[in-house]
């Protein structure tokens, strides 16, 4: 008799599902999105995908070598990370970005914390956010036929109409993996195959939709909600990023709470934040909360659940079967939401009044000779035309708020004031009054709203920057980074704050354009 029989404790059978198998299924489910992304966006997109996946796998291999660990590239998790990262990048990304991002994702976000199963945030998102923070400008460049253009999300934030059909199909001007149709096919297939947890993806989508409907300012308008759902990686986040096993809670209730958190935070960040990447950040924040959720929400055996069916009793009604934490969290969210919107509504008028007063004060600063500020019918008509939407083209997201002609005591025109707001600031809106003298040259700038980075963007309010504009009228001004704005229309950017500088210069150009078009003597 053969004596080489193996011993083991029960069970002696194992399922066919293995870690590499799951990862390959996920890769396969991303295939349609990748193919559409590459076909629509061309060679650079293909290069981004290949570089990202290649770098991810290579860094995993090298990292394992350095750590003297067995190679783990065949579990395919690095490839999934690389592909997800690539799909969340712009097709016009410079090719160094996917390399740096993927290496960061694998080495720093995953490897340094112990590799597969030990990372505390989604590596692909960590890589993406690292790139966004490091190369903000290059990461947010999206071009159409070689010309920089706004993404649907930027348009949506600016209140413009967007083409939802294009967004759904993935032919809009957005990241490589922007085909919602393909994402849905892959994501739903994963859900049906039981690879991802339905309670995560659907609570993300649900939380986001409800929050967006309640606080998005447009109610439950299906077009508005659809546009938001189709843009900014909501679907990719819900089906592929939030459902990452390692960084999501293990219990059903925990997963539900986690999903709603992502949805709600994603919506809030999108409504009130300055960035279109609300979802990346909301998922990362929820990832960080996962250990906490798992500590406090522990699944009890069926027999210990409060509402476990006792022998001979009827089924408990649905309302009683909803777990206590869910009810509590819902109530807290509702109360907080109502309180916040109530405070906002009550203080809105006062805040507006004060804003208006501050604006008036700033007009006197920029045209000190004026005794009174007057308007004309032509200006009013022009203002009502442009108010509330982005002004002209080529000025970024600049809006004209108010415009007045400054007159002295004798009624002589001594200058003009245009109040303008740019939404392109690094951290929220930038509003300032631009004063012009009677000849149309810049007389002064006074900021009423500026929340940029201290020491960088905030230096827009210093004379070294805004002083450059005084006395000039050769609009449109151009921004240079050379440090020696020599040409008549060149303005030196604040070093380290080109986003802020660009926003201010664009807004100033918008104001000058408005002046030229509607206010200049004789117009």
């Amino acid at each position: 008799m053969n004596t080489a029989i193996n011993l083991s404790t029960a069970p002696h059978l194992r399922d066919r599902w293995t870690t590499p198998f799951i990862m390959k299924v996920v890769l396969l489910s991303l295939l349609p999105t990748t193919v559409v992304g590459v076909v629509v966006n061309g060679w650079n997109a293909l290069a981004v995908v290949l570089l990202s996946v290649g770098t991810a796998v290579l860094s995993e291999w090298i990292f394992n070598k350095i750590c003297h660990k067995p190679s783990s590239i065949w579990d395919c998790s690095a490839a999934v990370t690389g592909l997800l990262l690539a799909l969340s990048l712009s097709p016009d990304t410079p090719l160094y970005a996917p390399v740096i991002g993927a290496a960061f994702a694998i080495v720093v976000a995953k490897g340094c914390f112990g590799g597969l199963g030990k990372n505390f945030i989604n590596p692909a998102l960590a890589g993406r956010c690292f790139l966004l923070i490091s190369f903000g400008k290059a990461m947010s460049t999206f071009t159409v036929d070689g010309v920089s253009a706004a993404t649907p999300m930027a348009d949506l934030a600016a209140g413009k109409a967007v083409n939802v059909t294009q967004m759904f199909l993935g032919t809009s001007n957005a990241v490589i993996g922007s085909s919602i149709l393909c994402m849905l096919i892959g994501g739903l297939a994963l859900w049906v195959l039981d690879v991802i947890h339905g309670q995560i993806c659907f609570s993300v989508l649900g939380g986001f939709t409800v929050c967006m409907g309640l606080f998005g300012g447009q109610g439950f308008d299906p077009r508005f909600l659809l546009a938001h759902l189709c843009g900014g990686g909501v679907v990719m986040g819900a089906f592929f990023m939030a459902t990452d096993y390692v960084t999501s809670p293990v219990t059903k209730i925990g997963q539900f709470v986690y999903g709603v958190l992502i949805g709600v935070m994603g919506a809030i960040f999108r409504i009130h934040g300055s960035t279109a990447d609300s979802f990346s950040y909301s998922i990362i924040v929820a990832n960080l909360l996962t250990p906490l959720i798992d500590t406090y929400i522990v699944q009890k055996p069926f027999a210990y659940r409060k509402l476990a069916r006792k022998p001979g009793t009827e089924k408990t009604p649905l309302l009683q079967r909803i777990p206590r934490p869910v009810i509590t969290l819902t109530v807290i969210t509702l109360v907080a939401g109502v309180a916040l919107s109530g405070v906002y509504a009550m203080t809105k008028d006062t805040i507006d009044q004060q804003k208006a007063e501050a604006a008036r004060a700033s007009y006197r600063v920029v045209v000190p000779e004026a005794e009174s500020f007057e308007s004309t019918d032509a200006i009013d008509a022009a203002l009502s035309e442009v108010r509330g939407s982005v002004y002209g083209s080529g000025f970024g997201r600049s809006k004209i708020n108010e415009a007045f002609i400054g007159k002295d005591a004798a009624g002589q025109v001594v200058g003009y004031v245009v109040s303008v707001t740019s939404s392109d600031g690094f951290d929220g809106d930038i509003t300032f009054a631009l004063g012009l003298n009677a000849e149309g040259a810049v007389n002064g700038i006074s900021f009423t709203e500026l929340h940029e980075t201290p020491g960088m963007g905030m230096r827009a309010d210093e004379d070294s920057f805004k002083g450059q504009l005084i006395g000039r009228s050769e609009y449109p001004f151009k921004m240079t980074k050379s440090g020696e704005g020599s040409a008549a229309n060149e303005i030196d950017a604040i070093s380290g704050a080109s986003v802020t500088s660009g926003a201010v210069i664009n807004a100033a150009n918008a104001a000058l354009d408005f002046y030229e078009s509607f206010m200049k003597e004789g117009n």
Binding site: M1, N2, T3, A4, I5, N6, L7, S8, T9, A10, P11, H12, L13, R14, D15, W17, T18, T19, P20, F21, I22, S72, D75, G114, G115, L116, G117, K118, D194, H197, Y245, V246, S248, V250, T251, K252, Q255, D294, V298, Q299, K300, P301, F302, A303, Y304, R305, A308, R309, K310, P311
Partner: protein, 449 residues
């Protein structure tokens, strides 16, 4: 929704290897070995001496106390020795060894049919106890103990377990197909112990012939019905069946009788019928010899004490050119891996599965870190979080394991371990944790005394 429980897994059945093969009685030629403890409870005490002649059906060891069971000889011959022999768990145990004369002469009066309808409750239980019947589903709990709950009137369901959810095994399927009448007879006798109970025969729906046979046999009997079950492991687990039939989940500290249920394997019911109607004690049971390494799989009625090796040899041995990598008593989900086939078959054994490949060995090569995928939580029939439990147990946090995670509720069905894509040894961890917790409790208890 079909009758079932929450969670569970779907291992490949492999039942086609033997499901159509009829039960054959196997008469061994070699010596027969009877371990003194083949049940849960105290070991039995031998009542024969060396060189004593014995007959088929003769009691050779007596139960020691209430929770214990008699041992009955399955062959005729002489007692060769009472000594320590290796049994299937790998341990040495005191065994009665009988030299088999090959004649299988029965004791007088055994096998004669008698009218059992007039038996009182006590007589019936005495009859079952005398026959040395234990639960044939695997655990081997003495049946007379199980059938004597504190309050027999409180029992609402008597569940006949014919689920046979364990992969490979098919002997209960064959037993139900060919001995349906006898099983129902045993069920009706048992049901007479519980005045308020309804008898429910549970069969997984992958055995349509068995369901049909049981339905036909159960027809006309009051308080008796057949309930097809969804095919899912561990459907045949006591708690899974109770969940499916009575809709109740209950903690491990409570017995099925506490929620008004008694579960008996169909094999046990058949044994009760043989014992009560024919006066034949338990010395043989149905048994499946199967697995990809076996040349000729089959379903057998085997005699206790037969060596696994002898049965295999008589059945045609291993497939040619195949190396035996794993030998399992029972099926691959709950069975015991044995290192040598030269050990005796015991009362509660219902199969031998021989595999040319070791799935565990293959899986261990594919082990990765835990992904937190939650498959273990989804499949757990008890509603535990195996992955969290495993973390706690490996960190030595038994306090959290026991109190917060209710780790001791684990029924050790192995579904989590089966389903784990990272091939983590979850159940092995839980077994160890449970052993340590119990040891600590005993230590604390001792210190207090």
């Amino acid at each position: 929704m079909r009758n079932t429980f929450r969670g569970g897994v779907h291992p490949e059945g492999h039942k086609e290897l033997s499901r159509e093969l009829p039960l054959k009685l196997f008469d061994p030629k070699g010596e027969m070995v009877f371990p003194l403890q083949q049940h849960i409870g105290k070991p039995a005490k031998p009542i024969v001496k060396k060189n004593d002649p014995v007959l088929v059906g003769q009691r050779i060891a007596e139960a020691d106390g209430f929770v214990s069971a008699h041992i009955v000889s399955s062959c005729s011959g002489t007692v060769k020795a009472i000594e320590k022999r290796r049994i299937l768990t790998g341990a040495l145990m005191e065994c009665i060894v009988i030299e088999n004369d090959g004649a299988f002469t029965p004791v007088e009066g055994m096998g004669q049919k008698r009218d059992a309808s007039g038996l009182s409750r006590e007589e019936l239980l005495r009859c079952i106890q005398d026959a040395g019947i234990v639960g044939l589903g695997g655990a081997g709990f003495p049946t007379h103990v199980k059938l004597s709950p504190k309050d027999p009137a409180a029992i609402r369901y008597l569940i006949a377990n014919g689920a046979e959810c364990e992969p490979y095994l098919t002997c209960n399927d064959q037993l139900m197909r060919t001995r349906a009448k006898e099983i129902v007879e045993g069920l009706v006798l048992t049901l007479s112990l519980f005045p308020n109970a309804e008898a429910v025969i549970c069969v997984e729906d992958n055995k349509p012939e068995a369901i049909e046979a049981m339905r036909a046999a159960a027809e006309g009997h009051a308080r008796t019905k057949v309930l097809p079950m969804k095919t899912k492991y561990p459907q045949g687990g006591e708690r899974s069946l109770i969940k499916a039939v009575a809709g109740v989940d209950f903690p491990i500290s409570r017995l099925p009788a506490d929620v008004g249920c008694v579960v008996c394997n169909v094999g046990t019911l058949y044994a009760i019928e043989r014992a009560v109607v024919y006066g034949e004690p338990l010395f043989s049971q149905c048994f499946t010899l199967t697995g990809e390494a076996v040349a000729h799989p089959g379903n057998y009625i085997v005699r206790d004490g037969t060596s696994f090796a002898e049965l295999l040899e008589a059945a045609g041995g291993l497939k040619e050119g195949v190396t035996l990598k794993k030998a399992l008593v029972g099926g691959p989900m709950m069975g015991i891996a044995i290192g040598s086939l030269d050990v005796p078959i015991q009362k509660q054994n219902n199969g031998l599965t021989l595999l040319p490949e070791d799935p565990v060995e293959l899986a261990e090569k594919r082990q990765t870190a835990c992904l937190h995928c939650g498959r273990c939580t989804t499949v757990c029939p008890v509603g535990l979080s195996p992955q969290v439990m495993s973390d706690a147990a490996l960190a030595g946090d038994y306090e959290r394991y026991e109190k917060k995670l209710h780790g001791l509720e684990c029924v050790q069905c192995g579904s989590c371990t089966f389903a784990c894509p990272a091939k983590r040894p979850l159940m092995q961890t839980f077994k160890q944790a449970k052993a340590e917790i119990m040891a600590n409790k005993r230590k604390e208890g001792g210190a207090k005394k």
